[in-house]
Amino acid sequence: MDAILLQILNGLDKGGAYALIALGLTLTFGTLGVVNFAHGALFMLGAFCVVGVQQLLTLAERVRDPSITFFEAYIEQPYLVSWFGDTGAMIIDWVIPISLLLAIPIMLLVGIVMERGLIRFFYKRPHAEQILVTFGLAIVLAEIIKGWFGANPIPVQPPEIVRGSADIAAWFGLDANLSYPWWRLIYLAASLLIIASVFAFLNLTTYGMVVRAGMADRETVQLLGINIQRRFTIVFGLAAVVAGLAGALYTGIQPPNYNIGMEFLVLSFVVVVVGGMGSLPGAVAAGFLLGMLQSFASLNEVKSLLPGIDQVIIYLVAVVVLLTRPRGLMGRKGVMEA
């Protein structure tokens, strides 16, 4: 029983990441009709916001290391620690939360620049050309990051107090062996919060209502005298923020490298396809569904029956869904079918 609960938690936690990325991807597709292969790169840029802030905060002076005598060894001591002592160390410890605040405006700007500077020229072009240009952009962005930060993963730690794991069984007074890392729980909570905010924005605000109207029928909305294009630009920025935050939060789980966006890109497309092109609830539901499936497929009992299933399950499900429900689980009629 404990094992099942743990695997459910793990599935939710993985699913949270998948759902966040797929949500942003669907948002751009649903509003602008653009298949954005650079979406993984936005995730990666979000992660590197944290790395950048960390490098700024840990700018260091070299101090002679007295414990090594046979050559001149230096310790890097961050200026923040030299100047502010423990307060400085605490600021460095909280690098991920601090970066999250910075990542929002940065990613919004990146998204808007990307849309205005490149994507908007491809609205009326075939999907194949959109895919080529955004995929090219993803490669360029990844190489820029590689050139600047190097090819190796860069370790980033969540704040000290949430580095361990939470004894979940004790919360509910259960006599079970159930604990889960704090940061992964935070990731899950944050992804649920972000997803809820996006839905609230689209469903509960007038701005969101107009955007939804535009998604349903762009021409009519324009005939009503609304500049729907500007709103869509903002939505593209919003999608970039969602992807960026997903990436920034993920640094506490896995040290980011320049290629992390590509690793998630393929997965997020599978999620979108399974969920149904253009369906926001579908993307979220499919994200959690696939996360859960992947987690359970990694159980040893399952793997002993079907060796290697943990690595193909997601694609297997995608094949089955496409065969039985070609529009995905919650796909709308007429999307990508013209």
Binding site: N152, P155, P181
Partner: protein
């Protein structure tokens, strides 16, 4: 949508002829090379070595350190710098004036920690840069692949960091040599230490990198710990470079196992260990015992990446810069002065391999591979940091002491992450070469084209 371009028959034939000529070009060169008796015989005043290391991928940190060591070795061979282990290496024919009077130069390649990329890179160095020897690498998958390429092409391969039993076992080659220790030796060294420290009644859970090194290490550690009375609860394979290991870690928590053995290395190791610690595995009690994590193959670079998480964790190592002998001190000093950090075991083995190759050439008096190979086979030496060492002729494996190391609880510097817990003697880790099978193959027959 797009129009197919239909070439005329004449243009097609023309193009095919050109392509054929282009494809055949390397063979023209190798014909020429073959006339020089052996592949890439250096005729000028310089000789070029090829250092093929992972500059990207999960083992990129080790690759970076290997390159530092290679540069240092080349400087020392050419008589620059303080000479490092040149002074302590015995018996040595090295002069500090290049190799056979030729100045040593080198080229580098990126293995990307992928077998096909590593082979392509090695081939480029042999065909284009005319290297006389290839060295480096930080993955056994890569070592086995490049080693067999080198055998085909007739170029000596001095393996870098490779720990799989297969490298000098079932996949051994006449042209391949390994100074690094192997998984079998780790198992023998670690088994008794683990039983002493954690008791004989333990259940182990393995997470294993899914390629040749992981498999042989899992097998070796399993055999060694089971011989001490341990049980193996599960052994689970994980893809190389998985990133998020959480779905493999959660089943450990309720498996009834009380020891987690991580057969991972480099970046994978950093991720899986950090995540295991995040899952609270080091604060757990299972079966009334403290839950323990073991990392059978340790690296200092890995320890830096994993930070705090390595404290108190057992593993093995080929060498440590903290060893108290002349060779180790000389090398650590020389490396520290050049790069401001102590060398890793990956750096050490690459440095030693370069010197050993150069010495074998001096001993043989020629760069001809069959003679160099004979000079290395059965070579007994000392002063390279590991005590008396034998390059066994039967399988081209070095035999020397193996270190059991432990993550330091109170490090005195950022480099003081591991301490040597026990030195297991060379006799204890020596085994019969026939247990792993394999054939070395012929001394001659390399075609420089492979």
């Amino acid at each position: 949508m797009t129009k197919l371009i239909r070439p005329s028959r004449r243009r097609f034939l023309h193009g095919t002829a050109l392509a054929g000529a282009a494809l055949a070009t390397p063979t023209f060169f190798t014909r020429g090379a073959w006339a020089q008796d052996f592949c890439n015989n250096p005729t000028g005043s310089t000789v070029t070595l090829g250092f093929n290391v992972p500059q990207t991928g999960p083992y990129a940190e080790e690759g970076k350190d290997e390159l530092r060591a290679f540069e240092l070795a080349v400087q020392h061979l050419n008589g620059e710098g303080d000479g490092g282990m040149m002074a302590t290496f015995k018996p040595s024919n090295l002069t500090g004036n290049g190799v056979l009077g030729k100045k040593v130069e080198f080229v580098t390649g990126d293995t990307q920690t992928k077998s096909d990329a590593a082979r392509a890179s090695a081939r480029r160095m042999i065909e284009k840069d005319k290297v006389i020897m290839v060295s480096g690498g930080s993955s056994s998958g890569v070592a086995v692949a490049v080693q067999s390429l080198c055998q085909e092409m007739g170029v000596v391969f001095m393996a870098g960091l490779t720990h799989s039993n297969d490298t000098t076992g079932k996949d051994k080659r006449r042209y391949g040599f390994r100074h690094f220790f192997n998984a079998y030796q780790s198992g023998v060294a670690l088994g008794s230490v683990l039983a002493e420290a954690y008791g004989k009644d333990r259940r182990a859970y393995h997470l294993t990198a899914d390629y040749t090194w992981g498999w042989t290490q899992e097998e070796s550690i399993k055999n060694a710990t089971e011989a001490q009375g341990w049980e193996t609860a599960q052994a689970v394979r994980t893809p190389l470079g998985a990133g998020d290991f959480s779905q493999y870690l959660t089943p450990v928590l309720n498996s009834g196992a009380d020891v987690l053995i991580l057969n991972h290395y480099g970046g994978d190791m950093v991720n899986s260990l950090t995540q295991a610690v995040q899952f609270g595995m080091r604060d757990k009690q299972v079966n009334g015992k403290q839950f323990e994590i073991v990392v059978p193959l340790y690296s200092e670079l890995m320890a830096e990446g994993a930070g705090e998480n390595v404290k108190g964790i057992f593993g093995t190592s080929n060498w440590s810069w903290q060893l108290d002998n002349d060779g180790s001190k000389a090398f650590a000093k020389s490396f520290g002065q050049a790069y401001g950090r102590p060398p890793s075991q990956a750096a050490h083995t690459c440095y030693v391999q370069t010197l050993l190759y150069a010495n074998a050439v001096e001993t043989a008096g020629t760069f001809a591979p069959p003679e160099v190979i004979k000079a290395l086979e059965g070579f007994e030496f000392d002063g390279m940091g590991n005590g008396p060492t034998l390059y066994r002729a039967e399988d081209h494996q070095c035999f020397k002491d193996v270190l059991v190391v432990k993550g330091n609880d109170n490090p005195t510097s950022q480099f003081d992450l591991l301490s040597v817990y026990k030195v297991v003697g060379r006799d204890e880790v020596t085994y019969d070469p026939s247990i792993f099978g394999g054939e070395l193959g012929p001394y001659d027959g390399g075609t420089c084209a492979g």
